[in-house]
């Protein structure tokens, strides 16, 4: 299993990072974390899929609206490394049980301090993950805005 967050690390470095974490089984439909929760752990998906959702008012009811689905190898919950360390989405295991590795922030910070070269690679990988999310979000936002402008100026 290759994790996007560990790209470029030697197998020994990757093993060291993975040993910092705890493997968790998340039953289907169970929340891994909820929007607003303190984010003190980062998750690497190993098996199954994690749905990321945000609340939206639909017909007067608050519903969790699908935002993104994370596949094995992808990183979930990078808010654990970004202040103010609060989750901005809700993460739930999809149709099947999911398996994730939970990496505590404190342990990661300690590892980065002790292994700056590996920490730098991980930080770059994290920038790729966050950058991709930003690009996706701004593209989708512009497309929605374009539709709104077309409707309003019609």
């Amino acid at each position: 299993m290759t994790h996007e967050l560990l790209n470029g690390l030697t197998s020994a470095e990757a093993e060291q990072v993975l040993r910092l974490g705890t493997r968790l089984m998340v039953p289907a439909g169970t929340e891994l974390f909820r929007l607003g929760d303190p984010a003190d752990r980062l998750f690497l998906t190993e098996r199954g899929r994690i749905r990321l959702t945000m609340p939206m008012q639909v017909r007067g009811r608050e519903e969790d609206i699908f935002v993104e689905e994370m596949a094995p190898g992808q990183t979930v919950g990078w808010s654990a490394l970004i202040p103010p360390y609060r989750f901005t989405l809700t993460a739930t295991a999809s149709l099947h049980e999911a398996k994730v590795i939970a990496l505590p922030r404190e342990a990661l910070h300690g590892y980065f301090a002790a292994n700056p070269a590996a920490g730098y690679k991980i930080a770059l990988n994290l920038a790729v993950v966050i950058g991709h999310r930003l690009q996706l979000s701004q593209t989708m936002w512009v497309r929605e805005m374009q539709r709104t402008v077309e409707v309003r100026s019609a």
Binding site: R59, R61, E63, F66, T139, V142
Partner: protein
Amino acid sequence: MEMLLMGLCMAVFGVGVAAVAFGAATRSESSDSVVQPQLPLVKAAVPARFFSDHAAVTPTVPPVPPRQVPIEVLLLQIENHVRMEQAAAEVFIAFPSEARLHSKTTSPFVN
């Protein structure tokens, strides 16, 4: 003399009959002139129909309120829309161009 009186009576009778006939003709003509202009209006308002020339009243259909889709279906439509938009955004990120950024979606949620 008798012949003269008979001729006079016949003339008076003929004048009377002519007067009555003229009066009847004049009265019917005036009453028709009131009713007739309405007929073309009624006909014009009624659409042409097969096998029927009756100026029937058009049946009024009560307005049907738009049916709301169940919320589960609506949420699924939103999810599909997000997935489609995400796919379109991925294509734009891989090969950025204005055309790809503003490519029309086929998502039924907004069409």
